[in-house]
């Protein structure tokens, strides 16, 4: 058991430097033109796009939510938010108070 684990670790320790030193082997796959010079720019663009996009999107949403929290805090402090009773009277859920604070006052109730 120990020998098998040791062998796996040795294989991993060998494979990682080989892939780092020989990137063309690492780029090889069965369905695309492996390691060709002219396809490397495509691999680079694809890698950058697929790596950057998820954190950029999640980060953008997080920043927007933080911006909304700060804006609502400021509106609450300035007394611009509607009272919960008014929201309830308009047929809205109490939890929707902050979002519906930006609704025009003339909006008719739902239902």
């Amino acid at each position: 058991m120990r020998a098998a684990s040791f062998a796996r670790r040795c294989a991993l320790a060998t494979a990682v430097p080989v892939m780092l030193l020989l990137p063309r082997l690492a780029q090889a796959c069965s369905v695309c033109s492996a390691g060709r010079e002219d396809s490397q720019s495509g691999f680079i663009v694809g890698s950058i796009l697929l790596s950057v996009l998820p954190p950029a999107f999640v980060g953008s949403v997080a920043l927007w939510v933080r911006h909304r929290v700060r804006k609502l805090d400021a509106e609450e402090a300035a007394g611009l938010l509607r009272l919960p009773e008014r929201s309830r009277a308009a047929g809205l859920r109490p939890g929707a108070l902050a979002w519906h604070a930006s609704v025009p006052a003339s909006s008719p109730p739902r239902g």
């Binding site: 796009l49 697929l50 996009l53 999640v58 909304r68 609502l72 929707a96 519906h100 008719p108």
Partner: protein, 197 residues
């Protein structure tokens, strides 16, 4: 001997109303848009690799993509996004001021879909099909996926319009429709840049 008691659970329903920073529908739409963004990123990434490894590009004996006409389509779609942004600003002032820019956004979006359909018909008539070349396969896959999203987003806009016609457009519906339409508008220039140019 002291008796240890379990801490009492807090009754959350008795507390003050919880602040909702983002409505559920808008947050769900954001998650959906995130997944669709990764789908398009995968398509565009695969297309870029295929294009960069091709010996001849565009493939010989295949029609060229209409760059100028699609640039006009792009302008139409961007104008639609601007109209929806104006509608959002008008939304705070009252439903009556919202109608015109909202209708303009829907009309421009529908015009974009119609012009894209016309472009597809011309390209198919010229011989660019799904099986004709790698360009055709990727073109119809990527642009077709975008057209499908544009049609679905138009459906959401029409739904929001109907709610407005019935007298009350909730901010959550407006927000979800906006997120979807801005995604359709925002991803198109990237597709145009990578596929057409």
């Amino acid at each position: 001997m002291a008796v240890r008691t379990l801490p009492r659970l807090r009754d959350v329903s008795a507390g003050p109303p919880r602040r909702q920073i983002v409505p559920n529908s808008v947050f769900a739409m954001l998650i959906f848009v995130g997944t669709e963004m990764m789908l398009f990123a995968g398509f565009i990434s695969a297309f870029t690799i295929m294009r960069s490894s091709a010996v001849f590009w565009p493939p010989p004996n295949q029609p060229r993509l209409p760059i100028a006409e699609t640039a006009f389509n792009t302008a139409v779609l961007l104008a639609s996004g601007v109209a929806l942004f104006v509608a959002r600003r008008a939304y705070r002032r009252g439903p009556d001021k919202l109608r015109k820019p909202f209708l303009a956004a829907m009309g421009l979006g529908a015009l974009f879909v119609l012009l894209q359909g016309r472009e597809w018909a011309l390209l198919i008539a010229q011989g660019l099909t799904l099986q004709s070349s790698a360009l055709g396969s990727f073109f119809y896959l990527i642009v077709g996926a975008h057209a499908l999203h544009a049609i679905c987003a138009l459906g959401v806009l029409v739904y929001a319009w109907r709610r407005l016609q019935h007298g009350w457009l909730p901010p959550s519906v407006m927000g979800a429709a906006e997120v979807f339409w801005y995604f359709v508008v925002g991803i198109w220039p990237v597709i145009y840049w990578r596929v057409y140019l």
